[in-house]
Symmetry: C2
Subunit: 271 residues, 2 copies
């Protein structure tokens, strides 16, 4: 097989298997080439992926060695993606009676979801995330997109237990916006103890739901690797939730003039 052909297949193979330690022998066999030839190929890919900000190609030497592709966008690209979504958010037709926002088109589009997933994966790339957690229904696409980018599973919390979940663990939490006590459940078999969990949701008002998921993580004997929300909505008063990162922030929904004030969230404050 020619180098040009190997490079095409190898590039596709690596991007298809992110965060997986692939042994060099996988490739020497696949291409019937020597280790040194494959190493040269990988070096070319490594440089292009670095220059084009596609991600990192890590090589490990020794008997347990191999190569790993770590997809990751740059801070700059992350902001660009967030601005793309911000632009979609600003449309006045999103405003629903009662000041609610219609988001289903955004979180139902694979192109947007890929961007959202990459922003969140970039934000928590060093947090050693073992699993992503969200609550049904609208958080699911965001959790799935993030989990895909981090190559970890995701688990879905529900407001009511279902017969298809088996034994469940339930927690009560205080809704931040209405001060009511509510409950949420998760299948006992969804998470093993000790896992580092990234909590995500689509929209945050008072932060009560996110806090509920936080206590659910602790009750599962797991740890919180991070808390993130796609959109931080307007809220008057002090939120009980301290540490969260938002992608976008809606400060004001002007029902009279059909205008929404959408900004980048606190995730980008450092930029």
């Amino acid at each position: 097989m020619k180098r040009s052909e190997r490079l095409v297949d190898l590039t596709n193979f690596l991007t298809e298997n992110p965060f997986e330690l692939l042994k060099l022998s996988t490739f020497t066999e696949r291409y019937e080439s020597s280790k040194s030839t494959i190493s040269e190929d990988l070096e070319i890919i490594r440089q292009v992926f670095k220059a084009r900000e596609i991600g990192e190609i890590k090589t490990y030497t020794g008997t347990a060695g191999g190569v790993e592709f770590i997809p990751d966008i740059s801070d700059k690209r992350s902001v660009e993606f967030a601005r793309d979504i911000q632009e979609l958010m600003g449309h006045q037709k999103r405003i629903l009676p009662g000041g609610y926002l219609y988001l289903s088109d955004i979180v139902g589009d694979p192109t947007n979801l890929k961007k959202i997933g990459r922003i969140l994966a970039h934000e928590f790339i060093d947090a050693r995330v073992d699993a992503v957690m969200t609550i049904a229904t609208k958080g699911i696409p965001i959790a799935q997109a993030t989990a895909e980018c981090l190559n970890v599973p995701f688990v879905v919390v529900r407001r009511d237990p279902k017969v298809t979940e088996g034994a469940t663990l339930a927690v009560n939490y205080m809704s931040g916006s209405s001060s009511k006590v509510e409950s949420m459940v998760l299948s006992k078999r969804a998470l093993l103890p000790g896992k580092r969990v990234l909590i995500v949701d689509d929209f945050m008002k008072g932060g009560g739901t996110l806090n509920g998921m936080r206590s659910l993580v602790y009750e599962m004997d797991c740890r919180v690797a991070g808390v993130s929300v796609f959109i931080e909505g307007p809220f008057h008063g002090e939120r009980p939730l301290v540490d969260y990162r938002s992608m976008l922030r809606v400060d004001n929904i002007d029902l009279a003039n059909h205008a929404i004030d959408v900004r980048l969230g606190n995730m980008f404050d450092r930029a």
Copy 2:
């Protein structure tokens, strides 16, 4: 830029932008190369993608011309993927009280979802799908994975209207298993008239839910491009649903012996 470097970046660019007609000028500018050079690059990629069953690279000539990457797996790969999932399904720990099956781990894993999405995308590659439809909650990951592979949006039907959905269209349907009349709703703005909709769900018993979605598609002045289900469960009697394709089929759940009889679904009958 060297050919080897161009091939790496071009391969990644194409796989990142499936089903998009990309103008050749995009690449002549990106790589500061001539059209004939880029055409040669694309020919190399086309051949590798064909040999490795990654997908098809289509080139169109003329002023509206360009190149399009159509990811698609082979029938053979599709069966292999289905067998991978079938193996996961057969585990006795899946059986829950009442004969229900625990599936959340399977549909919460990005690797499995990618396989499921590819099988479904392959099955309906010629059905000119404009959008994928499913019902909350467990159908969502399957719909999202399929929509991603087909690069179309997905819409989520609910059992109850939510304030964040705006105006909704509701239909009543007959639950196939319990013969009760139930209802489901979809946001009016979720689908434009005339769209071709692929209906997917995670589990089918009597098929009533799928039939409900079918009537919802018609009430939206859209058309059904296909109906598919991840798992076809055991059902005694005649299903009111005629035309559907299942990926896996569970014929029997033996509660006494904790055994599940899982086979490939009718999607693979032709093989």
